[in-house]
Amino acid sequence: MRVIIEQAKCCGAGQCVLAAPDIFDQREDDGIVILLQENPSEESRADVLQAIKVCPALAIRLEG
């Protein structure tokens, strides 16, 4: 599975970091999402799906 983020859409709400702290983080200066793992292991699928569900800016997608 491949996680795709769109930083341009992100509003820095931090929901993804709460849902999947191993996969997502926020940039120090402006709080915008950064991806820690582009291809996380299968075990993280539920957390990534949760992050997608709660991201208010629809800035996260999953392929595969």
Binding site: C11, A13, G14, L18, D30
Partner: protein
């Protein structure tokens, strides 16, 4: 369709909004009927304008992320919440009433300040404030008013810390914020409150920060944004008053009503005391269940929007009712029950879309610490007066309770 005799205007037959509650901890029962029978309903506001009231979770989320839906309250026919809110927003616009891309540019000046990890670092300070407050409550002995003694004090202290606002001024700005957010406040009184808060108080504060910047958020905005010209003084006042008002009222009332919900559901309270690891899900459930932004998110359509059988026309106002959506049983089974074990993380008490609350990591941290600590340290906490005798802030933009008298075994 159901009857709305009590909520309808006798002359026009139009349903008036907001709709009154029947029980203090539940949204108006008519909202549930609308969600079932009339998910897009026309309502009449205090201004005489009509707007669409949208109550289903999926519809609310769709509209709040639709680029044809605008938050710009300067557009004609925008459904304003209270005279004071409308005036303050027009005079001191902030990013919550801007659309993308302007919104993005302004919001990003602040997102770093509220990032999850930044707030994580504040937790010891939050814990310290909560501990001091509870020490004082215990030292004084029962009874206590939990609103005055705990839930109002914590968010005000934190917002003062963060913004660099003197603690001595909290009674002043809290009183002004109350006037601005209450729909009963006459327009001339709210304009005066806005003037005193923004033109005098906040403008003075910013001037002081400009002369002697310190290590706080307002000083950083002055140095990094105002001085180089990324923000005008009016824009900076707009941001400061937003953070000052939105940053304490909403959290305080969510804490108060959350504590009340736990006291009213003793088996849930017991479950939390027996298993403190339930605190995170308890807080999400509190946010879902009490949703203090109880009269919905205000928006306007900038193009025709087809939603199922309905068309919201360009220029029509929209009230996307997050609080009603949070009680949608298609999404949260048995939604009217307060259940701390459920996974309610996808509630929309903080809104949804790019305007979703910026301060939510702070609000969550405060809620988790205050609720967790309170019931750990005073497990026998109980109401000292029936809920029916309490006074609720139904006419305010932010729902809340004035006081919660409590007692405990000392």
């Amino acid at each position: 369709m159901s009857e709305f005799a009590a909520a309808s205007c006798p002359f026009s037959g139009m349903r008036e909004y907001p709709i009154k509650r029947a029980n203090p901890l539940d949204p108006a029962p008519e909202l549930a009927e609308l969600r079932a029978d009339e998910p897009f309903a026309k309502v009449r506001l205090w201004t005489g304008q009509d707007a669409w009231l949208v109550t289903r979770y999926d519809d609310v989320r769709k509209l709040l992320t639709d680029p044809r839906v605008s938050a710009d309250n300067t557009l004609p026919n925008f459904p304003g919440a209270t005279p004071g809110m409308l005036a303050v927003r027009t005079k001191y616009p902030s990013f919550i009433t801007m659309d993308v891309p302007e919104h993005t540019q302004f919001r990003r000046m602040l997102t770093g300040e509220f990032a999850v990890k930044k707030i994580e670092a504040l937790k010891p300070r939050i814990q310290q404030v909560v501990d001091e407050r509870i020490d004082a409550i215990l030292a004084k002995g029962p009874p206590s008013d939990i609103v005055r003694d705990l839930t109002l004090a914590l968010p005000i202290t934190m917002i003062c810390d963060l913004l660099g606002v003197p603690y001595e001024d909290q009674d002043f700005f809290h009183a002004k914020a109350d006037l601005i957010t209450d729909s009963r406040t006459p327009p001339d009184v709210s304009s005066k409150a806005i003037q005193e808060l923004c033109d005098v108080y906040i403008a003075g504060l910013i001037e002081k920060k400009n002369q002697h910047p310190t290590d706080d958020l307002l000083s950083r905005l002055v140095v990094n944004q105002l001085r180089p010209g990324h923000l005008t003084p009016i824009q900076l006042i707009g941001i400061a008053r937003l953070l000052l008002i939105a940053g304490h009222d909403t959290s305080a009332h969510t804490m108060s009503l959350g504590i009340l919900a736990l006291l009213e559901n003793p088996e849930q309270k017991r479950a939390l005391i027996d298993d403190p690891t339930l605190i995170n899900s308890t807080v999400e459930e509190i946010l879902r269940y009490v949703d203090v932004t109880h009269n919905g998110r205000r928006r306007i359509a900038t193009a025709d929007i087809e939603m199922g059988d309905h068309v919201i026309r360009k220029g029509e106002g929209i009230i996307a009712h997050n609080a009603a959506a949070n009680r949608d049983s298609d999404v949260f089974p048995d939604a009217d029950k307060f259940r701390i074990h459920r996974d309610a993380r996808h509630h929309i008490a903080f809104g949804y879309g790019v305007h979703q609350c910026l301060g939510q990591p702070l609000a969550r941290a405060e809620l988790q610490i205050v609720i967790g600590t309170l019931f750990r340290r005073i497990p026998s906490l109980a109401l000292a007066a029936p809920v029916s005798s309490l006074e609720f802030k139904e006419t305010s933009f932010v729902y809340g309770v004035e006081r919660i008298p409590v007692t405990w075994e000392s």
